[in-house]
């Protein structure tokens, strides 16, 4: 049985938004334990040992990220990235709306681990309900004494500030998020310096995803060995994946990493009767497609990388034989072009150029030379951008151009015959 309930435990059964319910089910116990029985370094060590990797998209080992913080520099900040906007991803939204206390506890644990006395959460602007739920939960937690001065009598002060985004996808990129949080234009920063050295307000800063921080709670509760026992060699533990597209039961499913892709699609109810699988986008809008032949591949970081794609945020979009791949490619390219901040050239100019060309294809006005040009230009703008957004344009487009060239060719304008 591949479905597990760790972070998703109790969702849909109990009102976890109520701090009483959450505490009755063991909530905030690990927080208290950490503050009263453990040193920050202990929490860090446990996290490191569990093999937890960032659940936001990049999959960077969390313990290693924390270790980049320069020793002894204060203040330092923890920022929880809840600006979930990757096409196909909706796991953080569920956690935010259904189990906000788990997020608060995770943030507080993370902040304690890196010895930060001020944590921030950046909530996507469109998550209005989630924001309201979270604010309510935060008020409850504050009232219970879990946020503020001298937590659990440890002498450790910890403040949590909530900030709402204003609707830009790019602000999910950690340095753009920090700029936005500082009140600046949401543009990614040039690296180096990295946020761990010079982040929010030029101070050492760790940016972690909602799900990453939330997993700290069960890892502390059940031990790092429990978490590391699941998954594959370098992809440990559990992950919430968001399955959407042409499946019968789209939704969030918490699974062990390494579960075969075929199993994941089965979990989501499989394809509609009589439909044939054409492509799967396995890791959000920025990932290249995998196909039928990859169905038995384990869903983990390394296997997907080996197949030329990525696990990303864990958003799986299933596409059957009703899919118009030209339109799908246009849709994604338009998204990235629209969300480009425009500060660096390949993403700004390239994205828009590709969008215009694809738009012509939609109107059956493609040129024969465009097909090769789409592949070449999308490749040329990849790997030379300031941030990963520009590099997100190519993967899906290139993979479907290669797999379904006939769909593009069919949209090439017929030659005009001149009299």
């Amino acid at each position: 049985m591949p479905v597990v309930k760790v972070l998703t435990e109790g969702i849909g059964e109990a009102n976890l938004r109520d701090i009483k319910v959450y505490r009755d089910r063991g909530g905030y116990k690990q927080l208290k334990r950490a503050f009263t029985e453990m040193k920050p370094a202990d929490v860090q060590a446990i996290c490191d040992k569990s093999g937890l990797r960032g659940r936001g998209g990049a999959g960077f080992p969390t313990g290693k990220k924390w270790a980049f913080l320069p020793a002894g520099v204060a203040p330092r900040y923890l920022v929880c990235n809840c600006d979930e906007a990757e096409p196909g991803t909706f796991k953080d939204r569920m956690l935010l709306e259904e189990t906000p206390h788990q997020i608060i506890e995770g943030i507080l644990l993370g902040a304690y681990a890196i010895e930060s006395h001020h944590a921030f959460i950046y909530i996507r602007g469109e998550f209005k309900r989630g924001y309201e739920v979270f604010m309510d939960a935060l008020a409850q937690a504050r009232k219970a004494g879990f946020v503020g001065k001298n937590l659990f009598g440890s002498g450790f002060d910890l403040e949590l500030t909530v900030h709402r985004g204003a609707g830009a996808y790019i602000c999910g990129e950690e340095t753009a998020l920090l700029n936005s949080l500082e009140g600046k234009r949401g543009e990614p920063r040039l690296r180096p310096p990295f946020p761990a050295v010079q982040g929010l307000y030029s101070k050492p800063t760790i940016v972690n995803n909602v799900e990453t921080l939330a997993y700290l709670i069960p890892i502390l509760e059940r031990g790092p060995e429990w978490f590391a026992a699941v998954g594959t060699e370098r992809s440990k533990g559990y992950k919430i994946i968001s399955i959407s597209g042409h499946v019968q039961k789209p939704g969030n499913y918490e699974v062990a990493l390494g579960t075969p892709v075929r199993k994941l699609i089965e979990l989501a109810g499989g394809l509609r009767p009589g439909r044939k699988l054409m492509a799967i986008q396995p890791g959000g809008g920025s990932s290249a497609c995998i196909f039928e032949e990859h169905l038995d591949m384990p869903y983990d970081y390394e296997s997907l990388q080996k197949a030329g794609t990525m696990l990303g945020s864990g958003a799986i979009v299933v596409m059957d034989d009703t899919t118009d791949f030209v339109r799908a490619a246009f849709n994604l390219v338009r998204f990235f072009a629209h969300e480009s901040c425009g500060q660096c050239t390949p993403c700004r100019e390239g994205g828009h150029w590709l969008e215009r060309v694809l738009h012509r294809f939609l109107e059956n006005r493609g040129l024969k030379s465009d097909i090769e040009m789409l592949a070449r230009v999308s490749h040329e703008i990849t790997g030379i951008n300031l941030c990963p957004l520009g590099d997100s344009i190519e993967p899906f487009l290139a993979s479907v151009l290669k797999r379904f060239p006939e769909q593009f060719e069919a949209r090439v304008a017929r030659e005009t015959v001149r009299a």
């Binding site: 040039l190 480009s340 660096c344 050239t345 100019e349 828009h352 215009r356 040129l367 230009v377």
Partner: protein, 780 residues
């Protein structure tokens, strides 16, 4: 970032040794290997936006940007490999996808980085067949700059300049993606003092100067490098002339020591007066109350005769004022000629400044950057020496120096600069950072009280550097050349003569027979000015002073003559006549005039080589024994209010009397800006600034209009002014001392210039229309 450990990096096969941490673009420059850049700028560092500086670095799978790559030992870089060339080609193609390619009508054509790089690295054709994105053209950003959004490559150099260098943050990037545009914050006009620099920073023809649009092609310009003599900073600049007219001026990017590579808008744009029709082109002689044009020979005869006769009776009845706007050589010969005739009444101080040489504590302009604290006294360097003010801002913005202003009636610094306003020296001392290593005092050279007492009280351990931001470009040179009543060239003690104030007083009493004024306009700035029995003035225009004279001599302007000038830091800088600039045939430089006059007076002047040697010798001697506010310079010419109650006029309506502070504005005046149509729009409106408390008491808001009436004055001012100011625009200014009203000096048709020290009352308050007040941001 950079430490002194040297590392070796190999660029295209050539090894280069550079300090560790040097950016790759800079390392490449050392072997004359150009790596193309748009967003990177040496003074602002990498931005990583343009992605054109791609290079291949061995051991790295992806192309890297050379601007944000610090060299490491053993790094092997290829800038010309197929991979690097292909990366650049691809990026260039992207730049041209939406570029309008309107080179034939673009001012940048011929010196455009996009044009040049497209030629050097581009593929020569585009694969794009779709319509280009259209954006606003010829956007009027403000009085100086026009922007073509379509040409813009969004390198953000201009935005970063406004943020990192100027601190005003007026230019911003708006919208996103392919539709982003450069705009001003809140749509306000773009008008700080340094806007012109963005036209040079702009790698393409997006940002252009209104004064230069459609004026010339770069290859048709004749270029001369000279020193800007609009203020005592002495920025190095290129003067570009076509068809006999100055078309534009440009900064020198590598002028690190003086201008740091920038120009202020006054220096850049106030160059349109050379061909102004109002220019004096012939010697003018006043006969029967009217002006007649005469020849140079007659003019010199009249002038020499007046001097000869007066000297025969008593050389003490002859005076000379000027020199601060002349070259070192001119000032030297001027005092030489008159001292040879026994004249001791020599003074360059035609305005309110009393001292220009800071003495033993003088620092270089670069030194300002490494100060822990910079204390500003008197008028703001922002208005008097703008490019020097950029160093103050750099110290504050980039190096964390603390800027402290004592009793300042000036506008506050823009928000990113943490300036502290205090009322007294004691408070200033308290606000100093802990254990400062280096403190700079920047004084306007007028009222010495704060400067002297601050010097006494500064903490002992700190190195103190002093700077004087004066009114006249070569005031320091004039002092060194002996245009002072108490010192000879090289600051030697001279037979004491009258200073300017004493000369004017003598003139008022009928005791001054001949007064010769060179490049100065005391009638505009000083209430105590009086003409002598015979007054000769050399100037470019019929100034307020020239109109009172008997003889006016047509002078050459700074781009029309050759010599040297001395800046506020004591640097001796070249002044070069601009190639092919058309000069009125009968205009002479002050040097030529002095030489001709000497001939008529039978005085033998030293030959050119001797003059050059003397200038360098005398300038080299720093006045070790001077200090800020040295007593020998006398008291400030700022007038103090009359103590005689009989003289006090009854205050009019509101009954509150204010002390007048007269302030310089970069574009507020001076002879040359009044005769320059190109910058007329930059001239500020006559305004009156109050502290918020006083404004509340008076019941005035920003945007209102008021009139002034004279309340009490010294005897001198009263003689000149019945109407002291009308239709003044009110500005409520934070941080201003109470009981003070700040007026702008030097404006045409505004009598404020010589009101310093007077007391005035406010009358006839007119409310700003409500929507106007809102637009200006008046406090509710």
């Amino acid at each position: 970032m950079i430490d002194q450990q040297l590392v070796t990096v190999t660029i295209d096969g050539t090894p280069v040794r550079v300090p560790k941490g040097t950016w790759l673009v800079e390392a490449a420059k050392q072997i004359k290997r150009e790596i193309p850049v748009y967003c990177y700028h040496r003074k602002m560092g990498p931005a990583g936006l343009c992605r054109i500086c791609l290079v291949e670095i061995e051991g790295m799978p992806k192309l890297q940007i050379a601007c944000n790559t610090a060299v490491t030992d053993g790094m092997v870089v290829h800038t010309q490999s197929d991979k690097a060339a292909d990366g650049r080609r691809a990026v260039l193609e992207l730049y041209l996808v939406n570029h309008p390619l309107d080179c034939p009508i673009c001012d940048k054509g011929g010196e455009c980085d996009l044009q040049d790089y497209a030629m050097a690295y581009g593929q020569g054709y585009s694969r794009s067949v779709d319509p280009k994105v259209s954006k606003p053209k010829a956007v009027d950003l403000g009085p100086t700059i026009v922007l073509d959004e379509e040409r813009c490559v969004v390198c953000q150099r201009c935005v970063r300049f406004d943020d990192m260098i100027v601190g005003e943050r007026e230019l911003v990037l708006k919208d996103r993606g392919v539709r982003n545009i450069i705009a001003t914050a809140n749509g306000e006009p773009y008008r700080h003092n340094f806007t012109g620099n963005v036209t040079e920073l702009c790698p393409v023809g997006a940002l252009t100067s209104k004064t230069y649009r459609f004026k010339s092609r770069p290859w048709d310009l004749r270029r001369t490098t000279t020193t800007c003599t609009q203020c005592p900073v002495g920025c190095q600049m290129h003067v570009d002339v076509r068809v006999g007219v100055v078309q534009r001026t440009m900064s020198l990017e590598d002028d690190d020591a003086i201008s740091d590579g920038w120009l202020c808008d006054r220096g850049r744009y106030n160059v349109g007066f050379y061909d102004d029709p109002a220019r004096v082109t012939q010697p003018m002689y006043k006969r029967d109350g009217g002006w007649v044009q005469i020849g140079w020979d007659d003019a010199l005869d009249i002038w020499a005769a007046a001097i000869r006769e007066a000297c025969a009776v008593n050389p003490a009845s002859v005076g000379v004022v000027g020199g601060g706007r002349l070259t070192n050589e001119e000032a030297f010969l001027l005092q030489h000629l008159f001292r040879a005739k026994g004249v001791a009444n020599l003074d360059w101080r035609a305005g309110s400044q009393r001292q220009a040489s800071p003495g033993r504590n003088g620092g270089t302009l670069v030194d300002l950057e490494s100060c822990d604290a910079i204390v500003l006294i008197g008028e703001s360097p922002a208005e008097r020496a703008p490019v020097m003010d950029l160093r103050v801002r750099k110290a504050a913005l980039q190096k964390g120096a603390k800027v402290i202003r004592i009793a300042s009636a000036e506008r506050p610094y823009p928000a990113p600069i943490p300036s502290t306003d205090v009322a007294t020296v004691a408070e200033a001392i308290k606000k100093l950072p802990k254990d400062p290593k280096r403190i700079a005092i920047v004084w306007d050279g007028c009222d010495a009280d704060f400067a002297t007492s601050l010097l006494e009280k500064l903490p002992a351990g700190a190195q103190v550097l002093t700077y004087i931001t004066g009114e006249q470009a070569n005031a320091r040179g004039a002092e060194a050349m002996g245009m002072l009543p108490f010192s000879e060239p090289g600051y030697g003690k001279a037979e004491s003569g009258l200073d300017a104030a004493q000369m004017f007083a003598a003139a008022r009493d009928g005791k001054l027979a001949v007064l010769s004024i060179f490049g100065a306009n005391p009638a505009m700035y000083r209430a105590d000015f009086a003409r002598a029995s015979f007054t000769a003035v050399s100037d470019l225009f019929m100034t307020e002073t020239a109109q009172l004279a008997d003889l006016v001599l047509p002078a050459k302007g700074p781009f029309e003559k050759t010599g040297t000038t001395t800046n506020m830091a004591g640097d001796v800088l070249p002044v070069n006549a601009a190639h092919s600039l058309e000069t009125p045939a009968d205009a002479l430089s002050d040097l030529e005039m002095v030489v001709a006059l000497a001939e008529k007076l039978g005085v033998e002047l030293p030959v050119a080589e001797e003059v050059d040697a003397a200038v360098l010798r005398h300038l080299a001697k720093a006045p070790e024994d001077f200090t800020l506010g040295d007593a020998r310079f006398g008291t400030s010419v700022i007038l103090s209010p009359s103590k005689d109650p009989e003289r006090r006029r009854k205050a009019h309506v509101e009954g509150i009397a204010f002390n007048v502070v007269v302030q310089t504005r970069v574009f507020g005046g001076g002879g040359t800006s009044a005769h320059d149509a190109r910058i007329a729009e930059l001239c500020p409106l006559p305004e009156a600034a109050f502290s918020p408390e006083d404004a509340a008491e008076l019941g005035v808001n920003t945007g209102d209009y008021i009139d002034l009436v004279l309340d009490s004055v010294s005897d001198v001012v009263q003689a000149h002014h019945d109407n002291v100011g009308h239709d003044l625009l009110v500005e409520v200014r934070n941080g201003m001392p109470r009981g003070t009203i700040a007026l702008i000096g030097g404006l045409p048709d505004s009598p404020a210039s010589n009101l310093a020290g007077a007391r005035v009352s406010v009358t006839n308050i007119r409310r700003a229309p409500e929507d106007a007040a809102e637009a200006i941001g008046a406090p509710a």
